[in-house]
């Protein structure tokens, strides 16, 4: 007679336990939240990096229109500011932005009307430094050469943005740690309930010569299976949510939001969420079972 293939089985009927029945769903929820928190942290990191590379070592000089004031015309003052900047130590380049570029910068706030030539637009000079710049002295020389000129040092508000991004990353990490703690508590509860429910079977296995590790492997297989399935589902939901947000952000005509798309390696990093939850479940289950069995005769 041909033998039926032996299906994977567990000596303990853990799959039908009321406590462990919800383990997969709870893990799915935790994986969903952890994946969103991690994705948020990665997006903020990307944003901070873009700010850093785009704005570090930069200054912006704004020459504002001063209607009715006894000063030189706007373009003359802008030229004077450029002359000061190009001769100042530490300045590599100073570029006057065109009207189109200024309109594009203002578009998120003013919409398409920002390009209206009737609007009194300031002149903006993008400055790149290649060494330390005496910002106070530069400011003094600019205001005397080009009245109405203001100097914006990127380093000041870039530092604020950096610390804000750091706080968001820390908060996301805190969320992930809390989710991990919740996962540990869920597994401890499920395993202890399983051990209490199946104590007679565990005792029988012991009498037949089962070691504590043999018993703990039964629980480990069970919680890891549930965690992987739940974690996979949670990650799928988080991926769908991220994709939806990305599409929604692309739909905004004049977006104030950064690009919400993750890089391929970042998607790969999110795959570690269910794997991490499964590993955490494995270690927790083993520790809980071995510790509980030690108290048995």
């Amino acid at each position: 007679m041909a033998l039926r293939p032996v299906r994977p089985r567990s000596d303990l009927p853990l799959a039908v336990d009321p406590s462990s029945r919800f383990l997969g769903w709870i893990t799915a929820l935790m994986a969903f939240l952890a994946a969103l928190a991690l994705a948020g942290a990665m997006l903020v990191s990307d944003m901070a990096q873009r700010w850093d590379s785009g704005l570090a070592g930069g200054l912006t000089v704004q020459v504002a229109p001063m209607s009715g004031a006894p000063v030189a015309p706007l373009d003359e003052r802008a030229e004077a500011a450029l002359t000061v900047l190009r001769s100042f130590p530490g300045i590599r380049t100073a570029t006057l932005l065109g009207g189109g570029e200024i309109a594009r910068l203002l578009e998120p706030w003013l919409g398409a009307g920002a390009a209206d030539p009737l609007l009194p637009m300031p002149r903006l000079i993008d400055v790149a430094a290649d060494g330390p710049v005496d910002v106070a002295a530069l400011r003094l020389r600019l205001t005397s050469a080009a009245p109405g000129a203001t100097l914006d040092d990127h380093a000041v508000w870039l530092a604020d943005l950096r610390s804000f991004a750091g706080a968001i990353r820390l908060a996301a990490l805190g969320v992930v740690v809390l989710i991990g703690a919740a996962a540990v508590m869920t597994v401890v509860f499920a395993v202890r309930t399983g051990l209490a429910l199946h104590r007679p079977v565990v005792e029988l296995l012991h009498l037949m010569g089962a070691t504590d590790r043999y018993v703990s492997r039964q629980f480990e297989r069970h919680v890891v299976g549930r965690s992987l399935r739940g974690g996979g589902l949670g990650l799928l939901l988080a991926g769908g949510t991220m994709y939806g947000l990305h599409r929604a952000s692309q739909g905004l005509r004049a977006s104030l939001l950064p690009d919400l798309a993750l890089q391929p390696w970042q998607w790969g990093a999110l795959l570690l969420v269910p794997a991490g939850l499964a590993l955490l479940a494995l270690v927790t289950a083993r520790w809980t079972v071995l510790r509980t069995l030690e108290s048995m005769p």
């Binding site: 039926r4 000596d11 039908v16 029988l204 296995l205 012991h206 037949m208 010569g209 089962a210 005769p297």
Partner: protein, 249 residues
């Protein structure tokens, strides 16, 4: 193999259920364990299969003093003991084959060998057509045969059976006893708790008889007759089951 010296067992603060139990079972011996209901047969078996530790006295198993054996050492010792529980103790969610396979899987036997050996022994006890049946679909007698198959699958050094023929007809009961005899001849030490006087008469082996928590060792009938005939009262015979301090009462 097994040595009990002045062993007593009590549950909690109750009176002792076993008192001053002393006996020695030599390797490769066969004993029936008899006694009225409540005499302490199951408790004595539990001490032997290491489910309990004695309240007092000395138990030595496979040359190891149980008083100094640690919890970590117990699985190795227990794997050398096959037990047929009175209530079968089968796992309801597992098939007959998986129930029988438990001791082999615990010992790390390769899966192909596990399936082959378990199928063979289940066929031998007449359950070849029920390999994948769960206990809930089996009759009492069939469950008992699964339990017996499980107890002997890993060729234990010591086989303990609590009423192993209680739920089977005489024909199958006799067949199972022949299986135990076979194991005994191969060197397994066998202790069978039973009420079945017909079986005890059929198989001429010494008895451990419990009466109200006290044990006496009754030699095999054939040996008693031989002793009477030959007047060789001091002949210990092939199986040394002489009591240490048990008394004929």
């Amino acid at each position: 193999m097994i040595r009990f010296e002045n062993v007593g067992l009590r549950y909690g603060t109750e009176a002792e259920v076993l008192r001053d139990i002393s006996f020695t079972l030599q390797p490769g011996s066969f004993h029936f364990l008899t006694g009225a209901s409540g005499a302490g047969k199951s408790s004595l078996l539990k001490l032997m299969y290491l489910a309990h530790r004695p309240s007092r006295g000395l138990v030595t198993l496979f040359g190891r003093d149980m008083a100094v054996v640690t919890r970590r050492d117990l699985p190795e010792l227990r794997r050398q003991i096959g037990v047929v529980f009175q209530d079968f103790a089968l796992l309801d969610h597992l098939s007959a084959l998986d129930n029988v396979a438990l001791p082999l899987r615990m010992a790390g036997t390769p899966e192909t060998d596990v399936v082959a050996h378990c199928s063979e022994i289940l066929r031998w006890v007449g359950l070849g057509n029920h390999l994948h049946a769960t206990p809930s679909t089996l009759s009492g007698g069939q469950k008992q045969r699964v339990a017996i198959a499980r107890s002997v699958i890993n060729r234990p050094r010591l086989l303990l059976a609590d009423e192993p023929t209680g739920n089977v007809d005489d024909g199958i009961g006799m067949r199972l006893l022949y299986l135990f005899e076979e194991l005994y001849k191969l060197g397994t030490t066998v202790v069978i708790a039973t009420h079945n006087e017909a079986l005890i008469r059929r198989f001429d082996h010494p008895r451990l008889h419990l009466d109200n928590g006290r044990l006496m060792v009754l030699p095999a009938r054939g040996r008693v007759e031989a002793r009477t005939k030959d007047a060789r009262a001091n002949d210990p015979g092939p199986i040394d089951s002489r009591p240490i301090d048990s008394r004929w009462e």
